[in-house]
């Protein structure tokens, strides 16, 4: 029973501030209106930029989660001594102010051989860096929860090669961590503003940039698209979670 109470209280706290925004968007003074939400339906810009953000999020998730999961497992089993280094690196993105990171990246990558400024590719890589602390921690938590060492050695003694062990034994077992990592990365990209402004700006405008713009001139519409983005992100994660309920590999079912 306390389980329900805790979760309901949690949800109540999360919903409360949203009520304020909803009231702001549904009422013009005393009059109820759907106009602010309907505006988004015909807003080509909103749709395009939302599409950009979703694409960036998908790309970042694909690149980052794969790389971090692989590296975390590698270090966990083959290079334990690197773990403190990995952990320190995983915390670095928090201490660099976003503007400093952005300006540094622009300076480094505006010259040949690596001219990446103004491209969504650079933004994806930068987002990968920002998401790294979260993806690492999620995967590491999952890895620590299973006895990765024993599972690894068991599989090894049965003749599985490294890639086989990784893909068919480890990944299915850290799947909740991988899923958490993907979800965290996804929502991070959908909400990030500063790097997008500096690294691409109008060249590949994203939803947060558009939101900020709209907010200045039409806050009610801005609040409405903030709610819509909330729903779109939620919907996308529900779809993702449903699609990923089955972890690759059958070992997961046997362990439940």
């Amino acid at each position: 029973m306390t389980g329900w109470a805790v979760v309901l209280a949690f949800f109540a706290y999360l919903i409360l501030p949203l009520v304020g925004i909803l009231q702001f968007t549904f009422f013009d003074g005393p009059r109820f209106t759907l106009a602010h939400y309907l505006q988004a339906v015909s807003d080509r810009e909103f749709q395009t930029y939302m599409g950009h953000s979703l694409a960036l999020a998908a790309a970042t998730v694909a690149v980052t989660v794969a790389l971090v999961t692989f590296t975390t497992y590698w270090v966990h089993t083959r290079a334990r001594w690197l773990k403190p280094v990995l952990e320190f690196v995983a915390f670095l993105p928090f201490v660099v102010p976003a503007v400093t990171l952005a300006l540094g990246l622009i300076q480094l990558y505006s010259r040949p051989p690596l001219v990446l400024t103004g491209t969504p590719q650079l933004l994806t890589l930068a987002y990968g860096v920002l998401a790294m602390p979260f993806t690492y921690r999620a995967v590491e938590n999952a890895l620590g929860a299973i006895d990765a060492q024993t599972l690894s050695e068991a599989a090894q003694s049965l003749g599985a090669r490294w890639t086989q062990r990784f893909l068919t034994v480890i990944v299915p077992n850290v799947w909740p961590g991988v899923v958490s990592a993907a979800l965290l990365t996804f929502s991070l990209v959908m909400g990030e503003f500063t790097l997008a402004l500096f690294l691409v700006g109008s060249a590949y405008e994203t939803y947060p940039l558009y939101l900020n713009q709209v907010w200045r001139s039409d806050p009610k519409y801005g609040a409405a698209i903030a709610i819509l983005s909330f729903l779109i992100t939620w919907g996308s994660s529900v779809v993702f979670l449903a699609a990923s309920r089955r972890a690759p590999g059958q070992v997961q079912a046997a362990l439940k």
């Binding site: 503007v99 505006s110 500096f198 558009y210 900020n212 713009q213 200045r216």
Partner: protein, 387 residues
């Protein structure tokens, strides 16, 4: 203010206003002359500096692709949206400016510098003190548009590296639904009726119009731009009384009513007053405080590595032409060439009366501004916010 008699009177008032203002400006320090340009002119011929005929600029712009990339010029600030639209109608140039409008002066200049190997931005709009900073760091290129002579000497760089476009005065936007008695002076703000109402544009250590609010309060309390402490102490008093709240004075907080009295530049308050009304929100009344109000110009700069130098110059020509300057006026900003403009009566009626602007102090003394900024940086946190 209707009819030609009213118009003539308005023009006379403006002439008198400008004469008085010019005498004040003449006393201001010319630090710009001291900070000589630290630029090498290898990248640009001296011919790019002097006014160029529109035909030549247009030809160059066509070769560049009829595109302009502007930083720090958001659509709803001083009617940039209308001005860029007019620029497009007249010359066919598409301006890209909307997301990058959010860049602050410091960010614009840092971005110009960081992307110099692969430049993107052409022009920027920065606060008055940033013109000389940009020159000192070698980030801008010079251009003297054809109306150069109309602009007072202290509002432009003698070598053409920056030039003031417009200014606004410090004003109160008062929510008449929450407030029954409209305050007309800073000293009125201490009234307990204004509890939890007074807002500025966030932090005066970061936002220039918040900084301007503190300086205005200083003038109202026996201080000046060279002595801002009285302003800081006044805000400390307001905070202690519970009247001043750290909410951002912006359109959103005016619509919700959270910012009961928003203290910002006239062009921001007036434009938002209209926007709030248009969307069914409360009616805000904009007043200029009678005991202390400052104004500070914003200046236009061209990126030294601008990918579209001809288009940037063409834009400056447009901005300083009558059409461009009137566009600024439509955004409630006072254009720098106002004394030379023929202002249509309908537009004149929307602006605050010239008499209320009579006592406004123009902040053009860079040394004093720098000193004031140091004081605010040190004292705002401890004295006002109890940090």
């Amino acid at each position: 203010m209707k009819g030609s008699a009213g118009e003539a009177r308005f023009h006379r008032d403006l002439e008198a206003l400008t004469r008085r203002r010019f005498l004040q400006w003449a006393g201001a320090a010319g630090l710009a002359a001291v900070l000589g340009p630290r630029l090498d002119h290898a990248a640009e011929g001296a011919s790019m500096t002097g006014p160029l005929p529109i035909s030549q600029l247009l030809a160059g712009a066509k070769k560049e692709g009829l595109q302009l990339h502007a930083y720090g010029m958001p659509p709803d600030w001083a009617n940039w949206e209308g001005i860029f639209a007019g620029f497009k109608r007249k010359y066919g140039v598409t301006s890209i400016y909307k997301p990058e409008g959010d860049l602050s002066s410091a960010q614009e200049l840092q971005k110009f510098e960081a992307e110099k190997d692969h430049p993107v931005g052409d022009i920027g709009d920065v606060g008055f003190k940033w013109g000389p900073v940009a020159v000192q760091k070698g980030l801008v290129q010079a251009y003297k548009n054809s109306h150069w002579a109309d602009i007072p000497a202290n509002l432009k760089d003698p070598n053409g590296y920056w030039v003031a476009e417009y200014s606004g005065a410090m004003s109160f936007a008062v929510n008449t639904a929450r407030v029954k008695k409209i305050p007309h002076a800073w000293k009125d703000l201490l009234d307990p009726a204004y509890r939890n109402m007074i807002a500025i544009d966030q932090d005066p250590r970061q936002a220039f119009d918040a900084f301007g609010a503190v300086i205005s309060a200083a003038y109202a309390n026996g201080g000046s731009v060279s002595n801002v402490e009285p302003g800081i102490e006044f805000f400390a008093k307001l905070k202690k009384a519970g009247n001043f709240i750290p909410v951002k004075a912006e359109l959103a907080s005016m619509q919700t009513g959270e910012a009961g009295i928003a203290i910002r530049w006239t062009f921001l308050n007036l434009a938002d007053r209209d926007a709030v009304l248009a969307k069914g929100g409360p009616r805000y009344e904009v007043v200029i405080p009678s005991d202390g109000s400052v104004a500070s110009p914003y200046v236009s700069v061209i990126n030294r590595w601008a990918p579209h130098p001809y288009t940037a110059r063409l834009f400056q020509e447009y901005l300083f032409s009558d059409e461009g300057q009137l566009g600024l006026l439509e955004g409630y900003a006072t254009p720098v060439r106002i004394s030379k403009l023929k202002v249509p009566a309908s537009l004149a009626a929307k602006l605050p009366p010239a008499s209320s602007l009579a006592h406004v102090v123009y902040l053009t003394d860079l040394k004093a501004l720098d000193e004031a900024q140091k004081v605010v940086n040190e004292q705002w946190g401890p004295k006002v916010m109890g940090q």
